[in-house]
């Protein structure tokens, strides 16, 4: 090549010009979405982010009723937190059966799941969706970060103190679900950054201790109970969560904490913020947000909080056969959920808690899982109000899910007393239980005596009072009846497509769900639960 010096200089200048003229600038930032670099300059972003944590329990993605799902690998409607939690807590027990043949669902009825069963897998990821979001919220809302962004408005600062406590409550709630369902799981906190290495597996005890310490740390920083904080976590909600965790501490850690469970239940009852609803049915109707019994609810709204999971699922799926959807305020029946026969037999005559059961055209025995008419229908969650006012929508319900309510606090009190917790007494326990029974029987005809108040009675009463409220699996495990052969119910341990429905003994490893197969592959630190 034969370049003269001036040519060389001109060329060098040209190349420099090319570089300087941004001819190689590739940065094209998104315009229609906000990124982490600037979202938190908006003071409203903190409330919106916290709302997303609550929404994590209530909806399935960023678009109601479906769209932009939070987790993938499963149909979005199926992936909704409450729907999954309800299915993992109810379907394998003596309380419920679901007709559908969708992948991952039949085995839930019969304790025959695997580490790839979609409902089990999705539930695990739902827990961590909540945990990671809460962690990010806690990282983004520290005093230092707020100061850095000049977020100095005193009201905002006060609110953010509440929000941080609520985020920690919600994280603790999901961790409780996590250890209850899956056992030893990784403990991931705000110190584990996004994109970091796969977390180590913690023991159930470690996570239990974390939940307890977190709840104790925030219990006084949560917003106060009342209509203006309905739907949010309050101090009594944290006490209730503590009571639940302590009640099952023996299962989680090997060491029972009956006294602590009793104390926590007393804190709820003693807060005075709640009272037993005079109507049991009101707790499960479209206007249950007005009930003074509900301590913590997953809120639903036909117009503003839409999902194919949640109570919309519960209300639609428990309708079918000759039931008329209009009666329940819904636009159609999904022909799914019925009672296993054992649940129907929980109730004695006169117990009005079974008053809504639908028997016409339904058989007691569930001779076929896929046939809706086999098994008594139990439309517990209905999209009609207690006063007959039409709901806001019939495709999506207004009915909230009462995750914690005072009635259960009474039952925890009673069980903790009977199991030897100190600080309470049997007489008070009997009073509480009879309050529930008087509501159920519409008078004292169903009252029991101190002699009848046994642990077995408590389990049966929990079945009656809290039917289909997502407690049953945990209760049966605490009583040692979920697996094994001591208590058999329809379809337990059997082939969901088979014909034999008497139930057989199951192996105790089923007391824990398996860690998802995909998770064990993705995170080499994890050891699968025994038996899977």
């Amino acid at each position: 090549m034969n370049l003269t010096r001036p040519t060389a200089r001109a060329c060098a200048a040209t190349l420099l010009l090319l570089a300087a003229a941004d001819c190689t600038d590739l940065t094209v930032e998104p315009k229609s979405t906000v990124t982490e670099s600037n979202i938190f300059n908006d003071p409203n972003s903190y409330q919106a982010f916290l709302a997303r944590l609550y929404a994590g329990l209530a909806v399935s993605g960023q678009q109601g009723p479906a769209g932009l799902p939070d987790i993938s690998g499963i149909d979005e409607g199926f992936s909704q937190y409450l729907r999954l939690y309800w299915e993992t807590e109810e379907l394998p027990t003596d309380e419920a059966v679901i007709a559908w043949n969708d992948i991952g669902l039949p085995e839930m009825n019969t304790q025959t799941w695997t580490s790839q069963s979609r409902m089990v897998v999705a539930m695990y990821y739902r827990v961590y969706f909540q945990v990671v979001l809460a962690n990010e919220f806690l990282r983004q809302s520290t005093a230092a970060k707020l100061a850095e962004r000049n977020q100095n408005d005193p009201t905002l600062r006060t609110n953010i103190r509440f929000y941080r406590a609520e985020a920690r409550f919600l994280r603790a709630l999901s961790y409780w679900h996590g250890i209850d369902l899956f056992g030893d799981i990784p403990l991931v906190t705000e110190s584990n950054l996004i994109g970091g290495p796969p977390p180590a597996q913690s023991t159930r005890t470690d996570v239990f201790n974390f939940i307890v310490s977190e709840l104790n740390a925030i219990i006084d920083s949560l917003p106060p109970p009342g209509a203006s904080t309905y739907g949010r976590a309050t101090g009594p909600a944290a006490s209730m969560l503590l009571a639940e965790v302590y009640l099952n501490a023996g299962v989680y850690t090997g060491t029972p904490h009956w006294t602590e469970a009793l104390t926590a239940a007393q804190a709820v009852i003693g807060s005075g913020a709640y009272s037993l609803d005079t109507s049991y049915r009101h707790l499960f109707l479209a206007d249950n947000n007005t009930s003074r019994e509900i301590i913590f609810a997953i809120t639903q709204d036909g117009k503003r909080t839409q999902t194919y999971g949640g109570v919309t699922f519960l209300a639609h799926a428990s309708c079918g056969g000759s039931m008329s959807n209009g009666t329940y305020g819904i636009n159609g029946c999904w022909w799914g959920l019925r009672l296993k026969p054992q649940a129907d037999s929980f109730y004695a005559a006169g117990d009005n808690r079974a008053g809504y059961f639908y028997t016409s055209g339904q058989t007691l025995a569930v001779t076929s899982i896929g046939d809706f008419t086999k098994g008594i229908a139990a439309p517990k969650y209905q999209n009609v109000t207690s006063t007959g006012v039409p709901p806001s929508d019939s495709a999506f319900v207004d009915t909230d899910f009462p995750m914690f309510r005072l009635g259960e606090a009474y039952l925890i009190y009673a069980e903790a007393v009977l199991r030897g917790g100190t600080g309470g007494n049997v007489a008070q326990a009997l009073t509480y239980v009879n309050l529930l029974r008087e509501r159920a029987y519409g008078g004292t005809s169903g009252d029991i005596t101190a002699g009848q108040l046994t642990l077995d009675f408590i389990l049966a009463e929990r079945g009656r009072e809290l039917l289909w409220e997502a407690h049953r699996r945990t209760d049966l495990i605490r009583y040692g009846l979920f697996t094994g052969g001591a208590y058999l119910w329809a379809w337990k341990g059997q082939d969901p497509n088979g014909t034999n429905s008497a139930g057989i003994a199951t192996d105790s490893h089923l007391d824990l769900y398996p860690l998802p197969y995909s998770e064990v592959v993705a995170n080499p630190n994890l050891k699968q639960n025994p038996g899977y």
Binding site: N101, Y128, V132, C333, A522
Partner: protein, 998 residues
Amino acid sequence: MKRAECVIGALLAVLCVAPLGAQQPSGTVRGHVTDDATHQPLSGISVAIGSRAALTQADGRYVVTGVPAGSDTLRTRMIGYAPAKRAVTVAAGDTVVVDVALSPQAVGLSEIVVTGYGEQRAGNITGSVTQVTAEQFNTGRVVSPQQLIENKVAGVQLVDNNEPGGNLTIRIRGATSVNASSEPLYVVDGMPVGTGAGGGIFVGRDTLNPSAGRDALNFLNPRDIASVTVLKDASAAAIYGANAANGVVLITTKSGRGGSQVEYSGSASSSSVTRLPSMLNAAQFRAAVLAHGDTSQINQLGNANTDWFGLVDRTAFGQDHNFAVSGTGGSNRYRLSLGYLNQDGIIQGTSTQRISLGFNYDQRVLNDRLSVRTNLKGSRSFDQFPPGGVLSNAAQMGPTQPVYDPNTVTGYYNWPKNQLQSADNPLQLLNLAKFQGTTYRSVGNVQADYSLPFVEGLKANVNLGYDVTQFTQATFNPSVLHSEIKSGNFGSEYRTDPNMVNTVLETYLNYARTLSFVPGTIDATAGYSYVQSHAEFPSLTLTGLSTDIFDINGFPTAAHVSPGSPNVQESRLISFFGRLTYNHSDRYLAAVSLRRDGSSRFGASNAWGTFPSVALAWRISQEPFLSRVRELSDLKLRVSWAKTGNQAFANYQQYTAYLAGNSLAQVQFGNVFVPTIRPSAVDKNIKWEETAATNVGLDFGFLEQRFSGAIDWYVKKTSDLIFTVPQPAGTNFSNFVTSNIGTMKNQGIEASLSARVLRGGGSRLTWTADFTAAHNTNRLTSISANGAQQIPVNGVSGGVGTTIGILEPGQPINSFFVCQQQYRNGKPVEGKYVSLADTIASTCDAASLRAYHDPAPKWILGHSSYLTYGNFDFSFTLRAWLGNWVYNNVASNLGTYQEVRRFSPYNLHTSVLTTGFLTPQYLSDYYVEDGSFLRMDNITLGYSFTYRGQQVRLFSTVQNVFTITGYGGVDPTAGLNGVDNNIYPRSRTVTGGLSVRF
């Protein structure tokens, strides 16, 4: 303007790199080289006198300087032509003119083939490239340009969604991607299109709205296309870098030729349906309900005998008219064309209409040193789509029920009580619901090609182009529709008005000369490209319409109004590229290229990718030891290797975006509802997918190319495949993140043979027969960093979240994932499967599920014959696919008696009469069928004559004449995922037409 500076700067920069020539004294020889037969000038001819040599320019002109005084021999050499010799005598300081006419030998080898950023003689191509010209194009009802080359190129698979103008997907040598696009890059007259300017709109290279199912190239009138070149192997495509991994299709439109002329061509067609899903008739349906329903279903049965599919489809008519005015002047060429197409679909109410305009103008100025070519194309398409659910409801609706019911608001019958579990009257849907779209698109560019005066053989090329689309799509479902009442929507309307603007600036220098220090010629190209895309997607959804009176044309008051975010999507692709080819006596050929691409889609740490290629070819037939085999006109061995990229995935994947929730996903804080925000889970280091490909090919020709063909073997290894893979819980915002994980391999062979069997001439019979065969195997080799994994894909109807496909290492992508059905006496046993452990299982679960066949054909065979006899021409095209499997989803979803136990019974697929299945067995391999077929795609008969001095041709074409297949569903080419689920039926089309040239 910044981008203009970029172009000028880049042009200057590449100039710096270009070698500069040196002068020497002595005599000069110049002249023209032409084709002896056509008298057309020939370019790129090597003219040598002793050690001095030059190449002819586009107009055939050559100048050899520095020829030593005295007598010598001038030799010319051009592939496909006989070498020529002329004695020359030059005196010092003189200029001698020597014009040479070359006699053609094997013309096929000298044809000019359009390649990336240039063109080449067919015989000297080192990669695997196939050009299809207008004479070979398919005729008949051709709505989309890709249909022109269907079945004409070995290794190119075309999948049609059967709607006229519907989306066509092309796979060149198999799919190279799972989650990015596997569609090739289309370059029309030098303009990259359909790529969202190297930037897809949704994901990859799709149409503006893939859901609308219309093809990305529909703006282009197929009658305006002169040639289509497919760059199949990576070395040929590599000059397109990060857009090249799926191959490149170069489309050149017609320009003016010969004297001024006016052309008209037109055709009219009639299409009818071939196959429909096989559903129970009224009597069979009644029997099924009586046997398996209960009183509530039985009581709903009517007494009609309705063939719902028969009412939904129709004989569809179409017409197509094209005018073109073209001509050439002393220094210019032009062609102006106008097209009108109106094609109805075989489903009632569906149609596509297109008005298109094309204008090409070439002007040569400055003593022909500067050539400016302008290409402008514009079109308006109006499409009527089948309203959602027409086909699925035609399958589900009970044949015992009547069409009309005078006692209803709409006059149409529907099942009582408006239950979710009842089918909709498909006729009501067809006639009351609307789904339509209008697309305006214009693509244009100006290409200036300048032969620099100071260095012979040095050219600069600048290409400025745009691609603008404005699209409106609307659906309207009136509140009185059964489907709207039962869903609780009570009327819905959706409208979207996306628009897209892409701009392209490209420039390159080309330098071609003979070398003095070693034998041979070189051709060097170096360039810069800047491509930018901007698109917006506003939308509006209304539900709960207060009135239906405005139909699709207005927005009434509605219970829910959800505006979609404008969703601005922008992307940029900046590239530097270079290529050097070397040709020694047409015997030793080499090409190397390098492209460096930077994309706005790549994470900061991976912003730039480098894509090299090397290709070598050896024309063995040119060697002395074969020169005695006179029958052998060409034998060329080609070997190439290249790395290409794929960046056809969504924008902004590297940014953690906080997405706002909509008004239907709020939560309650006390008495107020709070909208939410959610961070997205991303991999900040996302980058292109990379395919490294090796190709070995052999081109051969006998008897002056009377028989010619090629055999190619290739292997393509794709790495950094983009997958949405599970993340360890606790490490990201969701359980799946899109990341570059995974590898895949495609391997195959291709063969093509073209035989001019009869060369009759005059009034005697001529027959040219082309054969193609291609075999491809696809294997996913890994999909995660941590070992084996399975990702379920391809959702199907039946249940919720049911998927039929699997992505699993060791298997082809989209393999079916099913359980092996147990049979007794040739009949499937309900609910019984052969497990992986070879036991009989009564559930289809992980213990029995296995990968089983896949939808991609293993062999694609094609044959085209072209015959002429006197004034008659006759051609036909046959195609066969072997080893493509299809899941018959209509059968699996509706082939079970349980479906009559819906609130209102669904009609059943006739497979239930064989299987007797009471409950659905969606994942039984019973429903996965071999889709191998032989199809006569096209028969055309034409007659040409001269009427009062005008050339006239009359023709008639039958398309999809017959299909021989063992497949029982609607169409064995049912989409890339192989799921036959109420797909638009394929039609048989008879076309008659005429073309006249004045």
